[in-house]
Symmetry: C2
Subunit: 305 residues, 2 copies
C-alpha cells in the first residue's frame, strides 16, 4: 500500500486544552491507521530537517517504509495550527505554513511502483496525479481524499485526477459543492460520472456513507462521551478503509462496507486524545472490542416478509 | 395502543410547492404509522366542527377508534402553517392557531384505560400527565414525545411527567437544551436520571439514537434522492416505534432496536410527499421492501477476533 500525503507539525487548541507543535499530517494518520492491519506500506512525503527524528522512528516501528520521504536540508516542515470551537464541529485555521510542501516533488520508491492500493491523501491534485503517473502498473485500487480548498483553488486539476481513481472520500459539504446537488444521493451519482466508481461521503459525527450505483451503505460514528480533538479523524478513517482493503485484497462492495466500518472504528479512537496520541499505542484488543460495539450499535434482527 | 395528540390542519410551503389546509397533527401521523402493524388503537384529541368528516373517516378505515376525539360545536381545529427553507432542515412557523386545543380536556375512552402502550404525542405536558392519570392500570410502556416549545414554556410540568414515563423521544438540540450536555451520550445519561428508562434522540436526516444505560443503538435515516416535506416525520417515527412494540408485546432492548428501525423506515416514506399523502395508502409490500433497503444500508459482516 502506497500512501501519499503530508507529514506535518500541528498545533491545536480545543476547549480541552492546547498543544505545542506535535506530530500531524494526513500521511501520518493514514499510516498509523493502516498499520493496524499489518500491511506493508510506504509513505511518499516531504519534510524539513526540523522534523523530529523520533517521529520518523515512530512511523518506522509501525512497519512503514519511509524511503519515499524527502528530507530537505535547511527546509522547514509543513505547519498547521487551528482552533476548535466549543461544539468541535467547526474550527478556525490559525496558521498554514506550506514550507517544504510548496515545492514537493513526490518520488514513488521503486519497490512501491506496483503497489496494490494507492491512498492519495489530501494534497494538491497535481501532486496526486503525479504519483498516479509514476505507477508502473495500474493499482487494484486508487483512493483519493480531498477537501474544499482544492475545489476552490484547483478544480480543473481535481477533475482530471478524478478520472483516474476508484474511490473518492470527501465530506458532505464538499460533495454538495462539487456537484451543486443538495441530496447526497444525487451528489454521489454525479460524482460517479466524474470517474470514481465508489464515493465515500464523510459526515463527521454523523458517520459516513458509501455509494456505488444504487447501492448505499452507512456507517455511524460511534457516539462518544467526549470528543477531545477531531484532528486527523478523516485521515484515520481513510487509512483504516485503505488498510483493511489492502489486507483483505477484496474490492467487492460487500468488503468495502466492512472497510467503512473499520475506518469509522479507528477514527473513533483518534478523536479521544490530542493528535496521534491515541493511535500510536492502540492495541489490537481495543480495536476488536470496539468493533463489537459497532455491531451492537448497528445490527438488528428483523425478518422481512 | 392509546394515542394522545393533535388532529390538525397544516398548510405547508416547501421549495417543491405549497399546500392549502391539509390533514396534519401528531396523532394523525402516529395513528397512520401504527396502523401498519394491525394494532388496535384509539386517538384522544379535540377538533372543531370545521374538521373534515372525510379525515375522520380516513382514520376510522385504518382501524383507529375515534371515540376519544371531542368535536367542539362551533369550534375551530388547531391550525399550523410553516415554510421550509431550501435545505428542508430548518423551517419557520408562519401561524399557530391553538383554537379548540387551548381548552383541550382529554378523555380516555373506557375501553383504552388499560391499554398496553400509551403514546403521548407532542402536547402540553399537563395534558400528557392528565392522560397518564386516567389510566386504570400502569401501561407496559408509556412513550412521550416533546419539543423545545415545552422546554421553554412548561419545563416544570415536563419534568413531572418525565418521572412517569418509560421512553422519551426528542431531537438532539432538545436533548442538549434539557440537560446542558453537548455530548448526546452524556445527555441521554442525564435524561435517564429524570425518569425515562429509554431515551430516543432524533437527528432528522442524520437518523436516531436509542439509549438505555450503556447500550446504544443507531438507526440512520434512509438516504433519499428527494425529501419533499419533512412535516410529520418525527410523529411517524414515533408511531412506527410504538405500533411495532404494541404488536410484538416485547419491550426488551433488542426489540426496541427493531422498533427504531421500523420507525425510521416509515418516516422515510412520510417525507416523500406533502402531509399524509404518502402514508394513507402505503402498502405492506412497499414497507417490507424498504426494510430490505435498511438491511443493505446498515448490516455488515465482520468477524471479531
Amino acid at each position: 500500500m502506497l500512501i501519499v500525503g503530508t507529514l506535518a507539525f500541528d498545533a491545536i487548541e480545543s476547549p480541552f486544552g492546547k498543544t505545542d507543535k506535535i506530530l500531524g499530517g494526513a500521511a501520518t494518520f493514514i499510516g498509523l491507521a493502516a498499520s493496524q492491519f499489518d500491511v506493508k506500506s510506504a509513505i511518499v512525503s516531504v519534510v524539513g530537517d526540523d522534523f523530529n527524528q523520533e517521529y520518523l522512528d515512530l512511523l518506522s516501528t509501525k512497519n512503514i517504509d519511509l524511503s519515499g520521504v524527502e528530507i530537505v536540508k535547511g527546509g522547514r516542515t509543513f505547519f498547521w495550527s487551528g482552533k476548535y470551537h466549543n461544539d468541535l464541529n467547526t474550527r478556525d485555521t490559525l496558521t498554514t505554513e506550506l514550507n517544504t510542501l510548496a515545492d514537493f516533488d513526490p518520488k514513488v520508491p521503486e519497490a512501491y511502483k506496483n503497489a496494490d492500493v494507492v491512498m492519495l491523501g489530501n494534497l494538491h491534485p497535481s501532486i496526486q496525479m503525479d504519483v498516479i503517473n509514476q505507477m508502473e502498473s495500474r493499482p487494484k485500487l486508487i483512493i483519493l481524499d480531498t477537501m474544499n480548498y482544492w475545489l476552490d483553488n484547483a478544480l480543473n486539476e481535481l477533475l482530471e485526477v478524478l478520472k483516474k481513481i476508484d474511490v473518492i472520500t470527501l465530506n458532505d459539504e464538499e460533495a454538495r459543492q462539487l456537484t451543486g446537488e443538495y441530496s447526497l444521493v444525487k451528489a454521489a451519482e454525479k460524482i460517479e460520472t466524474m470517474g470514481p466508481k465508489y464515493v465515500v461521503i464523510k459526515k463527521g459525527e454523523h458517520g459516513a456513507l458509501l455509494f456505488n450505483k444504487k447501492n448505499i451503505f452507512f456507517a455511524p460514528a460511534l457516539p462518544l462521551e467526549e470528543v477531545f480533538d477531531p484532528t486527523g479523524a478523516g485521515d484515520t478513517f481513510a487509512g483504516g478503509f485503505a488498510g483493511y482493503l489492502t489486507a483483505t485484497k477484496n474490492v467487492s462492495f460487500e468488503n468495502l462496507k466492512n472497510a467503512v466500518i473499520h475506518g469509522s472504528n479507528l477514527a473513533s479512537f483518534c478523536v479521544e486524545k490530542f493528535g496521534t496520541e491515541r493511535m500510536v499505542d492502540l492495541k489490537f484488543d481495543e480495536v476488536q472490542s470496539r468493533l463489537e460495539q459497532f455491531k451492537e450499535l448497528t445490527q438488528f434482527n428483523i425478518e422481512i416478509q
